[in-house]
């Protein structure tokens, strides 16, 4: 081994003697020095920031109404603190109509911004909170402590915090619940940001993915490109007359000489990557408290990434003995990899994934589904295709023009007694509408009445009723949401009003369910399970036909962690984003076990069978787990498509519908998992091109540009990655990282290229 170690050592020596390396080192050091002064400190969350008012219309309306009231209330007190000019503006403020001109919309938004700014400054004042006005308001523990303390004993920061909590308590549905601490970033001791609405832990959690993003998409490609440029000459230089002959006259193997030279070339990136990532790791740890030792894994990952390009550069240098050609071929190789990867990504992302079924339910005579773009379909047995249904004209128009996702359904339920689907869908303007459609009517979309805000879910009660669980409690649908609206004249304008009151609040002294929150129903008993910030509530109908708290418990879990809830016959499950599934006794709410079903993927959906024996969990990585209440255990069924399962539904107590591989739905017998029926459309031409041409090519091609998947998986431990901004909404789609795919394909490529290079070098005469 001595001669080959000498070659590797010589490459280190060469790298250290290289001026380019030192220039790069200086640049890296300067970058690290520039980043080092970044720091942060925590402050109590106070004030009001843009976006903190979740429903400005409603909030302003409440303030305006309070002006007429005589009794003290938070709204009235706040109104009294506003200056006259603002009061006047608010009195006149009207939400612009949909077809309003941009200046009118802008003026409306401007007034809201002014109100927010004024409230923000008012909330720094001691007199913002007035105990009498807040009488009867439910406070959280932190708020109770601050509002009962003498103001003189509170710091300015604490007064700001008290005021914020008081506002949240007074308007639980309209003001976003804040975290206790905010983060203030500094540079060289100067504040460089406004207080960001999360504490240090959340900051670290949120910042870290961005750091990884920059490392993967900016630092990585630039660094690799520079490294390839610098090292491209190493192999061609070996062929200089008088140099190669001497090397080959030594008692060494040509193959090992080539491999040693290749490994030696990697020495360059080892030195540069160690300084860069070691420095970043130190800065993040010392300055921002992010001590993630896994970040040092970037050094071997970058080395591997570099080796993929370098093996091409080395082979080109071996064949053509020219640095310029080696660089050109490396760039062409990058372009080829990028092209194949992009083609696969584009076809998968724009063609296949949007069609993936994320919700399905067996209707009386077919199957109704929603896909990733929230487009409803029903199965047409005759044509064996999924037919689009239940779209508004506007949605149909949009779909015809742009392949964009439709607004999300925040709640949906199927009422089998009436063969009716109810869905609360956001609209493009930011509101929420309740829509209904009936199978017998061809799933024509009817209704469109304004639905309650902050919906957790829509559920069918055993009695046949439909309830909506939201932040403020439980609302029952009492009218007919499909009934046509009645024209009415209001302030001289004609408006369409629902015929009757549609929703009835059936909450009995329920608290405000703060985020993160989730709800589910036991279809047999009608018990509602609600999870909210670490608390689990079992809600039951009381003698007044209203939902009250039957039992309540607190889970030992980070209250910011998003979760799903599912109720079985005897079991209640709370599945958290980090993969922990709390298994609880439904009668006592005692935690029996904490399961970890999928190590590296969050759950996406949870459903219970009608009799409550089975509870299914679908994870973002496409895995399906099933709880069998009779056997008291979880199993991962060995069925086709396991790993690509995207939705599940229980049409009866002994059958299950499973959506896999995008658009295929299979009906299985529960227990035996015998296949009963399959609903799978014929493959279209583009899909065939993808499956039989693009995908095989992509599979065998090296994937250097996808190594970010590996690094992200190794560092975060997550196998899936949120695609949309709201990563705390577990139902939102997440991209499966396939973290080892780029490693295997690239490793095979590197080995193959080395073997080919060795054979070429062995056979070549010089």
């Amino acid at each position: 081994m001595r001669p080959y170690l000498a070659i590797v050592k010589d490459s280190f020596r060469e790298a250290l003697a290289s001026r380019t390396l030192w220039i790069l080192m200086v640049l890296i050091t300067l970058t690290l020095l520039a980043l080092a002064p970044f720091s942060y400190y925590e402050v109590l969350t106070a004030g009001l920031h843009r976006g903190d008012i979740t429903d400005a219309d409603d909030f302003i309306q409440q303030l305006r109404s309070s002006a007429q009231e005589t009794s003290a209330s938070p709204a009235r007190h706040i109104w009294s603190l506003l200056d006259e000019k603002t009061q006047e503006k608010l009195q006149k403020l009207e939400r612009p109509r949909r077809d309003a001109e941009p200046p009118e919309r802008f003026a409306y938004q401007q007034t809201i911004r002014e109100l927010q700014d004024q409230l923000d400054s008012l909330m720094r004042r001691e007199d913002f909170f007035h105990a009498e006005s807040w009488q009867g308001v439910n406070f959280r523990a932190e708020a109770r402590r601050l509002t009962t303390t003498e103001p003189s004993k509170l710091s300015r920061e604490e007064i700001g915090r008290r005021n914020r909590l008081a506002l949240e308590a007074a308007f639980p549905e309209l003001i976003r619940i804040s975290r206790p601490k905010s983060t203030q970033f500094t540079y060289l001791g100067w504040n460089v940001s406004w207080p960001l609405p999360f504490g240090a832990t959340q900051m670290q959690e949120q910042l870290f993915p961005w750091i990884l993003f920059v490392l993967d998409w900016v630092v990585g490609p630039v660094g690799i490109f520079v490294a390839v440029l610098v090292t491209a000459s190493m192999i061609p230089q070996m062929f200089d007359a008088g140099s190669l002959s001497l090397m080959l006259s030594k008692p060494i193997s040509r193959s090992l000489l080539y491999i040693s030279k290749f490994l030696g070339g990697c020495a360059f990136i080892v030195i540069a990557a160690t300084v860069l990532f070691g420095g970043l790791w130190l800065i993040l740890g010392v300055r921002l408290g992010i001590w993630n030792h896994k970040m040092l894994l970037y050094i071997p990952i970058y080395l591997f990434l570099f080796s993929i390009y370098y093996v091409v550069s080395a082979f080109s240098g071996l064949v053509w003995r020219s640095t310029v050609i080696a660089v050109a071929v490396s760039i062409a190789f990058w372009a080829a990899c990028y092209g194949v990867g992009s083609a696969e990504w584009a076809m998968r992302s724009f063609l296949l994934e949007p069609q993936r079924i994320t919700y399905l339910v067996a209707t009386n005579d077919s199957i109704l589904t929603l896909d990733e773009f929230r487009v409803p379909h029903v199965w047409d047995q005759e044509s064996r295709t999924w037919q689009e249904v239940f779209l508004t004209e506007q949605q149909q128009r949009i779909r015809n023009q742009f392949p964009v996702p439709l607004p999300e359904f925040v709640g949906k339920a199927y009422d089998s007694s009436q063969d009716r689907f109810l869905g609360i869908q956001r609209d493009f303007g930011g509101g929420r509408k309740l829509w209904v459609g009936q199978g017998s009517d061809g799933w024509r979309r009817l209704g469109g009445v304004d639905a309650p805000s902050d919906v957790m879910g829509v559920f069918q009660e055993p009695s046949g009723g439909t309830v909506i669980v939201n932040q403020s409690g439980v609302q029952r649908v009492v009218g007919d949401p499909a009934a046509p609206k009645k024209p009415a004249r209001l302030f001289g304008l004609e408006k369409l009003l629902p015929q009757t009151q549609l929703f009835e609040d059936v909450s009995d002294n329920l608290p405000s369910f703060a985020e993160p929150r989730a709800a589910s129903i036991d279809a047999r008993s009608g018990l509602l399970a609600v999870y909210s910030r670490g608390e689990v509530y079992m809600l039951a109908l009381n003698e007044n036909d209203r939902y009250g708290i039957q039992r309540q418990t607190r889970l030992q879990k980070d209250e910011d962690e998003p979760a799903l809830v599912a109720v079985g016959a005897n079991d209640l499950f709370v599945a958290f984003k980090n993969g922990d599934v709390f298994e609880m006794d439904v009668d006592t709410l005692k935690v029996r076990r904490v399961n970890r079903l999928e190590q590296s993927s969050p759950p996406r959906f949870a459903h219970a069978s009608p009799n409550g024996r089975f509870v299914a969990f679908v994870f973002h990585n496409g895995a399906l787990w099933l709880w069998d209440g009779d056997l008291n255990k979880f199993t991962k069924p060995r069925i086709a498509g396991q790993g690509s399962i995207s939705a599940i539904s229980f049409p009866s107590d002994d059958e299950v519908l499973v959506a896999d591989r995008g658009t295929r739905v299979r009906r299985y017998q529960l227990g035996s998992w015998d296949l009963q029926q399959q609903y799978a459309p014929e493959m279209e031409l583009l899909e065939m091109v993808y499956r039989y041409a693009v995908l095989p090519l992509y599979t065998v091609f090296p994937k250097p540009s996808e190594l970010y998947r590996t690094s992200q998986f190794l560092i975060t431990g997550k196998e899936t990655q949120p695609l949309e901004n709201d990563e705390d909404d577990l139902s939102q789609p997440q991209a499966k990282l396939y973290p080892w795919r780029p490693v295997w394909s690239s490793a095979v490529f590197v080995l193959l290229m080395l073997v080919v290079g060795c054979i070429y070098f062995e056979r070549q005469e010089f």
Binding site: R2, P3, L5, A6, I7, D10, R13, E14, A17, S18, Q237, D240, A241, G242, S243, S245, L246, M247, L248, S249, K250, P251, I252, S253, E765, F766
Partner: protein, 321 residues
């Protein structure tokens, strides 16, 4: 008798050329010779004769087409055989990030030496080649001669049994050449075999025991240096210049038995003759015959035919043929 250090038997090498590699070019055409242990052997030939090809085959850098080449009892190119060979290539290039010490460390380790062995021998060798005082200077500051001497040091570092030197004195000044010759002489005295490829025929003549002459891939001569001339023109390797006085027919009669290369009258009964004679005995016999025929010898000078003369004459004969 010890086994030959190098044994070449009917060695041929054909290169393929052209886009489709269909055209064959014969670089070596069935050459055979041996190099005995302890001798200094020179390989001569004009450019394109096949000398470098032969060295490449010997060291495993190129592959033979047919025939046999044994190096220290092993097939040419065998790694164990190469371990016992020190090689100084023509146009040696040592990477510019080295100094003499690191270069010796690098090439020494490539030859399988330990760090201790390299340090132990390296200093002595740098003294030997006159680079000890510049050992820590980067090679980029070295002259061509210094690089050549460093190349010689690396070739000697692992104490090889056979030294293959391709133009070892190339770029050296006269003092440097003299030093190299002295080193080679010393190595020969130590019993090492030296295989020399040089264009400087005077050097070869001064150093080598035997030579082989290649032309267009064919072996034209192999044998002792001092017999190259006799092989070239049949017998003569002494060139004699005579100025005589006397009767021309009688003078010619006296020289009748020898090769007269030129005969030139200088005046009345005065002549100048250029003769080729095999040895001193023949010169003496000539003088005796001239004197017996009453011819006066006004002046006589003699010189041995140089390797260069013989080499060029051999090539001329080859061209004429």
């Amino acid at each position: 008798m010890a086994a030959p250090t190098i044994e070449v038997d009917s060695l041929t090498k054909q290169y393929r050329e052209g886009w489709l590699r269909k055209r064959g070019v014969d670089a070596l055409r069935g050459i055979s010779f041996t190099v005995a242990p302890g001798e200094i052997f020179g390989l001569l030939g004009p450019n394109g004769a096949g000398k470098t090809t032969f060295i490449k085959i010997l060291l495993g850098i190129a592959r033979k087409t047919s025939g046999q080449v044994q190096l220290l009892g092993r097939p040419a190119g065998d790694r164990r055989g190469r371990r016992l060979v020190g090689y100084l290539p023509e146009h040696l290039r040592i990477p510019s990030h080295h100094n003499a010490l690191t270069a010796l460390e690098y090439y020494g380790k490539l030859s399988g030496l330990s760090g201790h062995e390299i340090r132990h021998r390296g200093g002595r060798l740098l003294e030997l080649v006159g680079l000890a005082s510049r050992a820590k200077d980067g090679v980029r500051k070295y002259s061509k001669g210094m690089l050549q001497r460093l190349g010689l040091a690396q070739a000697l570092l692992h104490d090889p049994q056979l030294l293959v030197l391709d133009e070892p004195t190339d770029g050296l000044d006269p003092v440097g050449r003299s030093q190299v010759r002295a080193i080679l002489k010393q190595l020969k005295d130590e019993g090492r075999t030296i295989f020399l490829n040089s264009h400087l025929l005077l050097e070869v003549e001064m150093i080598c025991d035997r030579v082989a002459i290649l032309n267009r891939g064919q072996l034209k001569y192999v044998g002792p240096v001092h017999t190259v001339a006799s092989r070239t023109n049949g017998v003569a390797d002494l060139e004699v210049h005579l100025e005589v006085y006397g009767n021309e027919p009688r003078a010619r009669e006296a020289l009748n038995a020898v090769l007269i290369e030129a005969w030139e009258p200088l005046g009345e009964e005065r002549f100048q003759a250029h003769l080729r004679l095999p040895d001193q005995t023949a010169v003496d016999a000539c003088i005796d015959r001239l004197r017996a025929n009453n011819i006066s010898i006004l002046s006589i000078s003699r010189r041995r035919v140089s390797l260069e003369d013989a080499f060029l004459q051999m090539l001329e004969q080859e061209d004429e043929a």
